[in-house]
Symmetry: C2
Subunit: 379 residues, 2 copies
């Protein structure tokens, strides 16, 4: 269930009510690809005040596997994470990671990138896997066109995604529809959600067609997929600016897989509610930290001109930090900034201590979550 | 300063009073080789109730370097660790890690294993480096014979170590002697300590000669070096059993670089007070966990027959743990055991999440520290 509490321009402040709790939107979802946000424990994520995390059906399907995750009582129990989880459908990873894949109308047959095992993923099996994971928000299985694909391929992928949306909805509805509960969490009275995914590349008319088809089926939320895949930023902005206002106002809107802080601000201003991205965690592991240029308490991302000067990227391994005993980000309230100097963190990266990766990740995840907190405050 | 508070047989419970605080002995010192206990922050070490950590002069001399560590205000400040630090002298690492080294009476010239830079380490420069680090306990610079060396080489190394002990003492005394304070911590009224190192391989007479020479100089504590380097356990036991009772009763006794839990128990019963070892942290990173077979509260390591059945080594990546939802060690009070199932930790190792290394390290370090807590309780 979703409620819009407040709007400012197109931007919305809302509340997503899920089996494992309430999520205040706009929200950023840290990525726990294989059942852990890289370098961080579930308890760390709670301390960082993450409200919801994202996990990848494709990776969990490989290990611990469908039967494994069922036997382990679902992902919340397995990773000891009490709050909501969103899972993607596996569609995107099948195309980007598997060694070999073959798409038919039925679904996709692919080889595991771990051991080469042949696995079939269909709209039905994707939803069944997500039900076994016990996700609070499940994503339809979709056909994802490659970044540089032509219009014809985008049209095909969009139309197949629509057909797969119907089939995804069918399985979900058959299981969750009557009881209104997750079969894995029958004690929880709140219904899990199923989101449809809008495809169509950078073609506005295909995107609109995709959205219309999904709304006709009637999902609990709608995602914009297939962007942040290498297209120019302006192209992604153009599509989101055109499509977001057409998306149902009473349903959550999710931009998949993006992006840089100023991009998230742009999408929030266009009316998007939910985000996920590997940037804070991946950049952290490469020693690139997001730091505030302004006191976030005084930052108003929703009003005035858009800009990216509210933060900077700090390359902590830079020689200039060798004797810099100041905190990484004096505006940040994370454990790393409270305890660690730039010089010490730089040293840890230099000598190859894996503690460096954790300290940097703590900070970057907190930066993104804090950014969302301030975005919510100013809507 | 050191006080023996209680004895049981040869075992001693004591108290080591150092510039950065009091250490209850017998104690295990986790190893922060390059300025961090691998995977853990200084704050993690405080939560684990570590009383003192060990860091390596050799590694710190390479990075951040002598001038670097001086400019950074010493290691406590650099790594934000408020409690005592012991540093080794660099002697052992020069022989085990550097690409090329040449020992003369003056000292050792070696090539950095990082960038090949030529560095000279002498008794004087080792102590000066440890003074710059601001160590609570500094170790004399010593000449370390290889594990398989003959008696002649052991005799030479022992005698040179004695001469280097005198020179180490000379520098330390010139700086610390008059003021009774660490030059880096003039506000701290407690004097840092300098320990001598007993060498002589597995030759009892050489060990005794070494000990006599060191006692003549008069150190704040005495260490047994050059064991735990591949010799049969019985040989190490024989030397410690013979030498420990001859060591000054009013000074702390430190067994360097060992060992397995039952070995530490043996050495405590022989009268040793201090230990350090890479086993808990290194084994953790390979998925090998130390777990209690008995409730440590009811374990009496000091009385009765010695045995190693109070614990076991658990190889968490073993297939048998794939669906084992029980905690790693129900007797353990660490964060990992309170939050993480065997199945989840196994999964994290299987999929290569570096969180696994941290969770395992937290547990193993806590196991060793808890073992020492119980050893102290039963003396």
């Amino acid at each position: 269930m979703f409620e819009v509490l407040q709007t400012k321009g197109q931007a919305r402040r809302g509340r997503l009510i899920l089996p494992h709790g309430v999520v205040e939107t706009p929200i950023f979802m840290p990525i726990a690809t294989k059942g852990a946000v890289k370098t961080l424990s579930s308890q760390d994520m709670e301390k960082l005040e993450a409200q919801i995390i994202l996990s990848n059906t494709y990776h969990l399907l490989l290990r611990p596997g469908f039967e494994g995750i069922k036997k382990l009582g679902g992902l919340h129990h397995f990773m000891n994470w009490p709050k909501p989880i969103l899972t993607d459908s596996g569609g995107y990873q099948v195309f980007s990671l598997s060694k070999m894949n073959k798409t038919k109308e039925e679904g996709v047959i692919f080889q595991s990138h771990i051991d080469g095992a042949r696995i079939e993923l269909t709209p039905e099996s994707s939803i069944e896997t997500q039900l076994a994971i016990g996700s609070d928000i499940m994503m339809q299985f979709d056909d994802v066109a490659a970044g540089g694909a032509d219009r014809e391929r985008h049209e095909e992928a969009m139309e197949r995604s629509l057909r797969w949306a119907r089939r995804s909805f069918g399985v979900f509805d058959a299981v969750v529809g009557a009881s209104g509960r997750s079969p894995l969490h029958p004690d929880m009275t709140v219904r899990p959600s199923l989101f449809g995914i809008i495809q169509g590349g950078t073609h506005e008319d295909l995107r609109e067609c995709s959205l219309r088809g999904l709304v006709e089926i009637g999902f609990d939320g709608y995602a914009i997929g297939g962007l942040s895949v290498g297209e120019p930023r302006e192209e992604a902005f153009r599509i989101v600016d055109a499509i977001a206002p057409q998306m149902p106002v009473d349903k959550p809107r999710y931009f998949m897989g993006g992006g840089m802080p100023e991009e998230i601000v742009h999408y929030v201003r266009a009316g998007v509610d939910m985000f996920d991205c590997v940037l804070p965690t991946r950049n952290a592991r490469h020693g690139t930290l997001f730091v505030w240029n302004v006191d976030p308490e005084n930052w108003n991302p929703i009003e005035g001109e858009e800009n990216d000067n509210f933060y900077q990227q700090m390359h902590i391994t830079n020689e200039k930090f060798v004797f810099d005993e100041s905190p990484i980000d004096p505006f940040c309230d994370c454990e790393t900034c409270k305890t660690t100097s730039k010089a010490y963190l730089r040293h840890l990266f230099q000598v190859g201590e894996i503690l460096a990766l954790r300290l940097a990740t703590v900070h970057n995840v907190r930066f993104y979550l804090r950014m969302m907190e301030q975005i919510r405050k100013t809507i």
